[in-house]
């Protein structure tokens, strides 16, 4: 299988006839779970991820008394892939959540100052929870897109006079700074060629991968290399170019 896959990618061919830099069909559906403050289902080919945002109030960290906070978690549901099992999160799920968390956090796409309720006492916390429904490869990109789509869909809940959370949403959206919103593309390497958006069979044979989060202004907000093969500087440069093009296309679908 490995040899066959290598020869296919070496000939710049894919299982499904796509080009190396071509994504499968991508769809984004918002507002899929109405008790969530924001939610989205993203499908890339047969890969499917559902994301939801819930807001809660919490005490701020002492070093940032007027900043809200956020957390990304991911669960690889055991129905999504026969290799996934129930129980504590696998290392893959932890990596995926942390890569996406860093992309959202470091891009500063959420205006944390606006998530302050009372300085030093009470701030908003955004929980961004990701569930893999079906795995046919490229989970990081699908999950990252779902996280962003759910955040953009989210409304702030109402508080009562004592700042207790009400189960009712206001008409105020979560404070998102549009220009900073990062999208993520993971570039994979098999043999000497780089390509994007693998199906599961391709992904299983990859030598290396690199996930790159890029803002609409073209800034790189996050990177994560995976796999046990080294990449050259030239390959990293090519990967960034591939990711730029791919995230530009994803951005059009998100709007």
């Amino acid at each position: 299988m490995k040899d066959y896959m290598k020869s296919l990618i070496n000939d710049e061919k894919r299982f499904d006839g796509r080009k190396l830099n071509e994504f499968r069909n991508v769809s984004v559906t918002n507002n899929v779970s109405e008790n969530a403050e924001g939610s989205a289902i993203v499908k890339i080919g047969d890969t499917e991820v559902i994301a939801g945002v819930k807001m809660a109030t919490t005490v701020p960290y002492p070093d940032s008394p007027d900043d809200g906070t956020l957390m990304v978690t991911a669960e690889f549901l055991p129905m999504a892939n026969p290799d996934f099992s129930a129980g504590p999160p696998s290392i893959q799920a932890i990596e995926l959540a942390r890569v996406i968390d860093r992309g959202i956090r470091e891009s500063k796409m959420v205006d944390m100052k606006k998530l302050c309720i009372t300085k030093g006492e009470l701030v908003w916390m955004a929980f961004i929870d990701l569930y893999i429904i079906n795995d046919d490869g490229n989970l990081i990109d699908a999950a990252a897109l779902a996280a962003i789509a759910a955040l953009k869909d989210a409304f702030m809940p109402k508080l009562d006079k004592e700042n207790k959370l009400l189960h009712e949403l206001s008409s105020k959206k979560l404070p998102i700074i549009e220009d900073r919103v990062p999208l993520t593309c993971t570039v994979f390497k098999i043999g000497k060629n780089l390509f994007v958006d693998p199906v599961l069979a391709e992904e299983k044979e990859n030598d290396a991968r690199i996930s790159i989060g890029i803002s609409s202004e073209g800034d790189i907000n996050s990177m994560q290399k995976g796999g046990i093969t080294a990449l050259t500087l030239d390959e990293i440069d090519q990967a960034v170019e591939l990711a730029k093009k791919a995230t530009d296309d994803l951005r059009k679908i998100l709007k």
Partner: protein
């Protein structure tokens, strides 16, 4: 008194919420289905029959059914901490027990049929929606069943016996009584019965009668979903 009873969403006391069912919602699984009742949405997927891991749980005389049930963290008002809980473990077990009477796994010793049920949007009745989706997922996976299993929560709210309780009704009045019921509608056998609240024996009997009638309606929706996937339009004419 019964005539004066008004439901929050205007339904009759014996009226189910609008239902939808669809097969094949998890592409890579052997079988899968979505079942929606009002605002409650469940998805279920089947993997197997496959070799049991860990091996000491294998049975030489029959295959196992193992069910995982959970609410997605954002499917409810107060975020649920992701991952299994005592509640989800118990519900996984009662779903297994609700489905097993309709199944015969004696042809698959040493294997398990792994069933996954997740609630993506919750408005009460999640285990019942889960069972309805699960029965369809098993059918979609080609697991032999004597008949489909259908489930609904009946109960008593403000002294009135009603069917398919939603979240609003679950918290209404002094002793709201919630009774999830699963049945094999053709043979009329009950495979899941739980109750909490306060209800008389007579009321319970009328609630169960109501559940029986509703499970037949649910089975029709389930059958329709199977036809939609497996019977071509020509054949169904």
């Amino acid at each position: 008194m019964a005539k004066a009873f008004k439901r929050n969403d205007g339904r009759k006391v014996d009226e189910m919420r609008p239902m939808e069912a669809k097969l094949g919602v998890v592409k890579s699984a052997e079988g899968s289905a979505m079942f929606k009742a009002g605002k409650t949405i469940a998805i279920a997927a089947v993997r197997g029959p496959r070799e049991v891991v860990p091996a000491h749980k294998q049975r030489a005389d029959r295959g196992l059914l193992r069910c995982t049930y959970d609410l997605l963290s954002f499917s409810v008002n107060d975020r649920k901490r992701p991952g299994p809980s005592r509640r989800s473990s118990e519900i996984g077990m009662v779903i297994e027990n609700a489905l097993l009477p309709a199944m015969d796994l004696s042809d698959w010793p040493y294997t398990s049929v792994d069933l996954y049920v997740y609630i993506t949007q919750a408005d009460a009745g999640t285990r019942c929606a889960g069972i309805n989706a699960a029965a369809l997922a098993l059918a979609d996976a080609g697991i032999p069943m004597k008949e489909l299993v259908s489930a609904v929560a009946v109960g008593k709210v403000d002294g009135q016996v009603i069917v398919d309780i939603d979240k609003h009704e679950e918290d209404q009045g002094e002793f709201p009584t919630d009774i999830p019921v699963a049945m094999m509608p053709n043979s009329g056998k009950v495979t899941l019965l739980q109750l909490d609240g306060k209800i008389t024996k007579d009321e319970l009997n009328s609630a169960l009668k109501l559940a029986e009638k509703s499970c037949k309606e649910i089975q029709e929706v389930q059958k329709q979903a199977i036809r939609a996937k497996y019977v071509s339009k020509e054949e169904s004419k």
